[in-house]
Symmetry: C2
Subunit: 209 residues, 2 copies
Amino acid sequence: MTDSTLAPDSDQALYALSPEGRKLLFTEAKTAYDFSDKPVGDDRLRAIYELFKWAPTSANINPLRILYVRTEEGKQRLLTGVAQPNQEQTASAPVTAVLALDTGYPEYVPLLAPSNPQLRPMLEANQELRESHGDFNSTLQAGYFVLAVRAAGLAAGPMKGFNAEAVDKEFFPDGRWRSILLVNIGYPGAEAFRERLPRPSYEQAVQLV
Amino acid sequence: MTDSTLAPDSDQALYALSPEGRKLLFTEAKTAYDFSDKPVGDDRLRAIYELFKWAPTSANINPLRILYVRTEEGKQRLLTGVAQPNQEQTASAPVTAVLALDTGYPEYVPLLAPSNPQLRPMLEANQELRESHGDFNSTLQAGYFVLAVRAAGLAAGPMKGFNAEAVDKEFFPDGRWRSILLVNIGYPGAEAFRERLPRPSYEQAVQLV
């Protein structure tokens, strides 16, 4: 381990991803709080999914689902479930993705993991395992999703500040999908970005044995 | 929305990330189950962190911590907590990252979110909020970590099949860090990759309003 702080560009040999890619996804990307009027086409929303979907989950269960809200009417329905301080940014975004756990995800397991025929019945018989696997993997996938939005050239504004119960009642009344995170999506507006906040240092966050 | 299936390379204009970057992180990356003898230097482990750390968390709480296990002795201690079918791949990886939630993460909140002085006392007073924020955001960060490993040119093998209680007892006896995922890290071995499994279709996973 070097003692000096390693800037991301100090040694190109340490990364396979290009400097442009590192900036786009990590080092210069920032959460957006304000969006321009430039629209986001449905083809781009699909492109996000077609990239995002390949990142790994436990036993390939892929329990995350996405509701893209991009009409005026949809936005109005969504805003009733968004906490006041987050309403303005949500209203300004051309699209808000409601990321949701499909609580019925074991239904797809035979298609997704055909070599593991005992997995679906095991998940269906064991509520605690089904829920812990669903919660963990849908949240892991939410992380992949944020980076895939950036890979599609869009700014992402993930938000935990919303009323999941209200959003679920409005959009998922049968109770099968359960919202876990909102992600505003679009092009940055004039007031998009706040000052970069610090991160835990390597010494605070990492141990080696 | 186009009706045809969109291949990730069918329209370069839909992505800001280069085709090479998309292949590296998403479309051609696969979970590794076997690793070569090629070592991974501590500078590269640090490079993963210096990239990973920038991806966003709620209120910038950043609760994920990393224990890199890369000595023979460390590996032996770790293997006692790894389920039998996963022992071989773990033993073959030059490094295994133990991703852990720091249950004491509110301690760092004043440093990470200086403009939000009420957040630390609020988290310390409300166990349910503290735990749900910690669980959700550490798991979100685990997703970022997997992609950052790939960005550093390494193969990742994330594993949920381990005994978290045993691993925590061995490495985190004071109970503050709680392991949530193991990620084997290294260069692919001869038997690294399995056949690509399918993913939910766009129509199965996505709704639009």
